[in-house]
Structures are given as structure tokens and as C-alpha cells.
Symmetry: C2
Subunit: 224 residues, 2 copies
Amino acid sequence: MQQKEKSLNYKKYFSFYDHLSDSEKEMLERHTNTVTYSKGENIHNGSDVCKGLMVVKSGSLRTYLLSEEGREITLYRIFDGDVCVLSASCVIENITFEVFVDAEEDSEVIILSAAAFSKLMSSNIYVECYAYKLATTSFSNVMWAIQQILFMSFDRRLALFLSEEIKKTGGDTISLTHEQVAKYMGSAREVVSRMLKYFVSEKIVELSRGGIKIIDMQKLERLV
Amino acid sequence: MQQKEKSLNYKKYFSFYDHLSDSEKEMLERHTNTVTYSKGENIHNGSDVCKGLMVVKSGSLRTYLLSEEGREITLYRIFDGDVCVLSASCVIENITFEVFVDAEEDSEVIILSAAAFSKLMSSNIYVECYAYKLATTSFSNVMWAIQQILFMSFDRRLALFLSEEIKKTGGDTISLTHEQVAKYMGSAREVVSRMLKYFVSEKIVELSRGGIKIIDMQKLERLV
């Protein structure tokens, strides 16, 4: 579903707005749309066709790598107000790797089309700079995830995931299945379930249909 | 060893040179030095102190991640004429991860000091853009390496490494120890030795004191 919003606050979503000429502003506005995605829908699939620059208005997106064998490695998630530049990778020639982006919940996304973004990048150094700066921030996010995967032992990683998740959502219960936790962590369900069982035996968490309940936050934090 | 070169071709090494004002050019030249490093010397160690922007004049550098337990993951190598921006990570606020850089051979490196680079970045949008563009290129290089590590099976990875190495150096023999190959691939010596033995049995390579000799390039390429 795609819709035009006359009232969109462009300045809020595109920090380079003040550096645009009148005709560039006009182009930006003409090529920006709000699109809604359903939970689980694929938005960007790593090929050289791409949607453009995305700003999450509501909901959240997940970026990940996908191996030939179908294994997923979650890189990072994008929430309200965050910008996704990897979905515009086709217009940034220095980005040569393939990334996938899915809607993690029902999401509203503001999209500046790839073609318009590309034109603005080549006509305006501030837009170009903005794009590469965003890519550099993504780089740091990705490196964080990669270091978790490559270096940390799995108990620490899972403890860190649970502790960050509970801080994000509040309350004491994480409403995710073991399958979902595994997906977010780039791991396998079996590995997650096994470690959660160990956490239960250590009286750190309790498991129920509703999810994973943290019963000893201090112990969890000590693992991290 | 540090030395001042009056005759340095700044335009060749710093592509933003033409966008600098006279006083910025003067600052660039005053804060650029040629430094020599010995093979194996550590140049940048991931902390927030950093040397600055580096251009390799001769030799080569290696960038890598280092785990708390001392495990190294090689990200990419930098050769003649290439620029290393991660050694200036302290002045690029969006780079928040720690990377290490070593001289892989005796190397001559042109260094623009971190302080001067930082000043030029904040006064000149072209320098800022240059920095983030370089970081984005590093991002792609790193993602390539990471995908090798996370997704490819080890025989393909080793075959790819050997085939790229032989293309780089020419001839038919790779003068590296198993230990060195393991280090470059972020693997263990035992794993490399075991796979090389398998390659020997497949009549793909021959092993000698001098290194690894490729005897069937076609077979090697088929593995890749």
C-alpha cells in the first residue's frame, strides 16, 4: 500500500533537507511515499534492484545476511525514526554486499525512491555525505553483531540478548519463541533451547507458553 | 622513523586536495609525514588514540579484529596506493568498533595526523564525505571477509584463499606457513594443515619447506 502525504515533515526525516535547492526539495517531495508492510514481509532482497532510502515511521525492520544454504544472520534492527540506508545499496556504489531487510512487525515506512536519491546524491554533496555517514553507522552496528557472533561464548550472548530485550520492552517477560530468539541471534533453535534450559536450572529464567520470564536479573547481568 | 617529504604529490594521495582552500592545503602538508614500519609491527591498536589517515606508499598492512582471548580475524589487507581510514577511527565518531592494524611487510606509510584530519573534516564537507566514503568501502571489504567466515565451507574458503594469493603474487608457489595462512583466514593451524593434506591427496597442491605449490589450478578453481 502506497500513499502520498502532503503534510509530511521532510525536515524531520531527512536531515539534509536544509541544504537542498528549491528544485531538489521539489524532487524529494515528489518521490517520497509512505508504504505499509505487514509483519514478516520481505522489503529488500539483496539484489541490485532496490527500493530506496527508508525511514521507519512506525513498527520495526530487521536487516540480515542470508547464506546460499538459507542460514540467516541478523545484523541489526531499525526502529521508529531510524533510517535504513542498506535498502538503497544499489545507488551507493561502494556497498557491494547483499543484505536482506524484512518488516518485523506491521510497519509504516517513508521511502525516498532509489532513482531520486541517486540524483540527489550526485547533485548535492550534503546528500552524498549523509548517505555515506549512514552507511558508516550501519558498519558499526554490523561489526557489533559480528563480534558477538564470532567472539562471545553463547551463554554470554544469550544473557546479553535477554537483558537488552527486557530493557527495550519493559516488564519481566520476553514474548518470543525459542525459534525467534535463535533467528535474531543467528543461531539454531536447539542451541537456544538448550541454553535456556541451563538458565532455568540456574534459576535465572522461567519458561512458559507466554515466553521467557526473567526471575533473577542480577544473575543474568553477571553473565553479561 | 618519521620524515618530511617536500616533494610529496599530495594530489595523488588525497583525492580531496583540489577542494581545499590554500590554508587547508598548508595545514595538510604541515601535518603529513612518511613513516616506516617493520614487518609485524603494530600500527593501530583499537583504542581511542589513533595515528590518522594512512596511505600505503610501499609494503602492505593488515586490519583485523582481536577477541579478549587473543583470537584474530583478518578483515582485509591494504596495498600500495590504498588508503586506511580505520586507523583514523578516533576522529570518525560513527566508527565505534575496535580494529587493529599491523604492518605485514616492511612498509612506508604516508600519515595525515588524526588532529589535522579531524579539523579538515569539520571545516570541509569534501573531506568529511571522503572519510565516510572510505569507511563505506571498508564496510564492503569487511562484509566480504565476514561472509567467508560465517557461510562458506572451509575447503571452498581455503581454495579461494590460495587461488587469490597465487594471482596476487604470480608464480605457482605460495610462500606462507600453515600458521600464517590460518592467521589470514581467521582459522587455526590444525584446520589449515588438515585441509592442505586433503588437497595433497587430491593432487591439487604439493607441500614443501618453501610453501604451498599449486599443481592443478583447474581443480583448485573448481572448488571455488
